[in-house]
Amino acid sequence: MIELILGKYNYWVYITLMMIGFYAMIEKENLIKKIIGMNIFQTAVFLFYISIAKVKGGTAPILWEKEGIPYDNPIPHVLILTAIVVSVSTTAVALALIIRIFKEYGTIEEDKILIMSEVSGKQDSTENSKFLSSTSLLQKGE
């Protein structure tokens, strides 16, 4: 048991980080806070990938004249470089959306936006929003 915990400590930490980010993403009302949660959520996954790549006593995967030392696995590094770029792009698009939302609604709090949409969009109130919101917490928008 102790071995299980100590041998994989990186993985436990990544799970913790991921849960923190995930919680912020689905529970916080503030739209920017959600994006910050999203960033933590994604970096946690990156940490998982990079942890796979580590080899005990290994060195950075750049050719080195010293013989006999193992290199760390370069593949997850490559994958995560791509994933980081994706993450930055998603953040940029999300922030642009938030700026537009603030312009239109004057707030970036989700609950307030929900109320405003309910007032303005009477036509859509016929859809069973009650049914949906009780079946899932992810019900948003009008």
Partner: protein, 84 residues
């Protein structure tokens, strides 16, 4: 030896982290964050030294060169409320 130094630097960073989280003003936080940034530069250089790989210095150099952009952005926003 160097491991011990690295550990001490991380410990120092944790001390500063208290100020980042506690605040109370933005200036405290920015200053503390900047201190952590400086420690990071040292730490990365040190890790490179421990591992005997000079490539790590490049990363330290990036921080040394552009770490303060964020600081200036934060302070400009704090003072003027905008970045442009």
């Amino acid at each position: 030896m160097f491991d011990a130094v690295a550990t001490i630097i991380v410990f120092a960073a944790i001390l500063v982290l208290y100020r980042v989280i506690k605040g109370p003003t933005i200036y405290d936080r920015v200053l503390a964050a900047n201190a952590i940034g400086t420690k990071t530069v040292v730490l990365i250089a040190l890790i490179g030294f421990i591992y005997e790989r000079p490539h790590f210095l490049d990363i330290a150099l990036v921080y040394a060169l552009i770490n303060f952009i964020a600081t200036i952005a934060i302070l400009k926003y704090q003072e003027m409320g905008r970045l442009d």
